[in-house]
């Protein structure tokens, strides 16, 4: 669509675009200059503040890698636990029996309506009051619990969208050759839906990785963001430098996941062998909202 919004440029349009470019460049340069001044004013550009990240590996081995490992561990654990739960919930929502469908729907809607931080705070207090989980492990448990509760319900919607994205002929043909409902789901729909869901699942992983940072900021979970905090304390208040490095790591991880997801999507759409059904990565942001607008909105 965006390519048809404007005509091929003639001489006047070209001149005008050059003018816009220059104006925008000046505005951008002014902004950069202002940021530079502000940083320089507070001595944030001094080499000592950035040095730990560019010479020697101490900053990485002591702070960043352990933090990153905790981040990835929590994210992986949450994904591994939430996937089967989400699949079960998603299939339950498609059940023909109201007594299965309704409770599953209520659960999914409920956990999607609540912020993940609220679930994490609940988890932390829950483990402190009712279980013997040691206080060192509690933040990790709480973060994973919060992430699992929330993401299982989001993955349930992705699973549902994946199954619904398959052409109707698939289940009709399966039923025509005499398969039972369970067999249709297990042998025909699920194998295809899993492939269709892959791009959306990978982008949900981005959401999970980002949400682990909540644990660092609010629950004293020592993940990547928390390591930025300790670093800036240790290296003489280099807050700007520490946050820049940590943010760059997050961007690197999540951007590669996002790119991988859209590559998967393109590949699945191209493939001739399959039906071409796919749950696009963009469905994730739509599904994360609420089903009240219809889970199918982005699918």
């Amino acid at each position: 669509m965006s390519a048809v919004l404007y005509d091929a440029q003639g001489p006047r349009a070209k001149r005008r675009n050059v003018l816009y470019t220059v104006v925008f460049l000046v505005a951008l340069a002014a902004l950069v200059w202002w940021v530079y001044q502000a940083l320089d004013d507070k001595d944030q550009l001094a080499w000592e503040k950035w040095k730990p990240f560019f010479s020697g590996t101490e900053a990485y081995s002591t702070y960043i890698w352990p933090g990153l490992r905790n981040t990835l561990e929590a994210a992986a654990a949450a994904m591994v636990i939430a996937l089967p739960l989400g699949a079960v919930l998603g299939i339950a929502r498609l059940s023909d029996h109201a007594w299965v469908r309704v409770p599953a729907s209520v659960l999914v809607e409920f956990f999607r309506a609540i912020p993940v931080l609220v679930l994490m705070i609940f988890g932390l207090a829950l483990y402190a009051e009712y279980t013997g989980v040691g206080s060192d492990d509690r933040p990790l448990y709480a973060v994973v619990t919060g992430l699992v509760l929330y993401n299982a319900s989001v993955l349930a919607e992705i699973a549902r969208a994946g199954i619904l994205s398959l052409p109707k002929g698939q289940s009709e043909a399966a039923m025509a050759i005499g398969l039972r409902k369970g067999q249709v789901m297990r042998l025909i729909l699920l194998p295809q839906a899993v492939t269709a869901m892959l791009p959306a699942i990978v982008s949900q992983l981005v959401v999970i990785v980002k949400d682990t940072a909540l644990g660092g900021a609010v629950l004293t979970f020592s993940e990547l963001l928390a390591s930025a905090n300790t670093m800036s304390g240790y290296y003489g208040a280099n807050t700007i430098a520490s946050f820049t490095v940590v943010a760059a790591i997050y961007v690197a991880i999540n951007f590669s996941l996002t790119s991988f997801a859209s590559w998967l999507e393109r590949r699945l759409r191209r493939r001739r062998k399959s039906t071409g059904a796919v749950v696009p990565p963009s469905a994730v942001t739509d599904i994360a909202g609420t089903a009240a607008t219809g889970a199918g909105s982005g699918v």
Partner: protein, 221 residues
């Protein structure tokens, strides 16, 4: 049974949540639309800027952005957003952080809306001699916004839930007060139920009402 509520301003906390959500929603709608216009426009530099902004910002955790506004902008660079009062400053910083983050998603929602407008609309608009800004303002965006109500609703709901991240910099919104309560009171399940109920009251009706609006305003084709 509910006497634990007395020492805490739960309603006030939810009012702060609503304020955070509404102010950031307005801010990110304006900035997100501008970003979307840049991303579909004819100036390559602006396109590049829009793309870079969206790809960087939506891949950074909101928590990092919000914490940075407090530790980086405020405490390190001394930016107070026109106030000295600790509470006001943190509230404004949270709105700033939420706006910066959410506008990337608003941009993508509006772009998905633009993609639903049939190519013929823009071609016809160009054929009668409209310029790019006219094509966008008079023909494409009015239709795109109507198609984008659904995705934008989901962004608004996500934003409402994301306001809880402001608890990380001490803004006394719902999650912050909840954390205080569960630490000091013994009724974990009841407290959580109250807070969860509050968020359900905010997010579920938003989805229902705006979902209805979205269907109502959708361009029939």
């Amino acid at each position: 049974m509910f006497d634990f509520l007395e020492g805490y301003d739960v309603l006030g906390a939810f009012w702060t949540t609503v304020q955070l959500a509404l102010l950031s929603a307005v801010g990110s709608l304006v900035w997100g639309t501008a970003l979307a216009a840049m991303r579909v426009g004819p100036v390559p530099l602006m396109r590049g800027f829009g793309t870079a902004y969206v790809n960087i910002v939506r891949n950074i955790p909101l928590t990092v952005i919000i914490l940075f506004t407090s530790l980086g902008l405020n405490q390190t660079l001394g930016i107070g957003l026109g106030s000295d009062d600790f509470k006001t400053v943190n509230f404004r910083l949270a709105v700033l952080g939420l706006t910066v983050y959410t506008s990337a998603f608003v941009c993508e929602a509006i772009r998905s809306g633009i993609n639903t407008v049939p190519v013929g609309q823009a071609e016809a608009a160009r054929a009668i001699g409209l310029s790019f800004t006219q094509v966008l303002n008079l023909v494409v965006l009015p239709q795109a916004f109507r198609a984008a109500v659904g995705p934008l609703t989901n962004v608004l709901i996500a934003l409402t839930k994301n306001t809880t991240v402001a608890a990380a910099i001490g803004v006394a919104e719902a999650a912050y007060v909840m954390k205080e309560m569960v630490e000091n009171e013994a009724q974990l399940l009841l407290i959580s139920a109250v807070v969860a109920f509050g968020f359900c009251c905010l997010t579920l009706p938003t989805g229902l009402i705006l979902g209805w609006v979205g269907k109502k305003v959708a361009v029939k084709r």
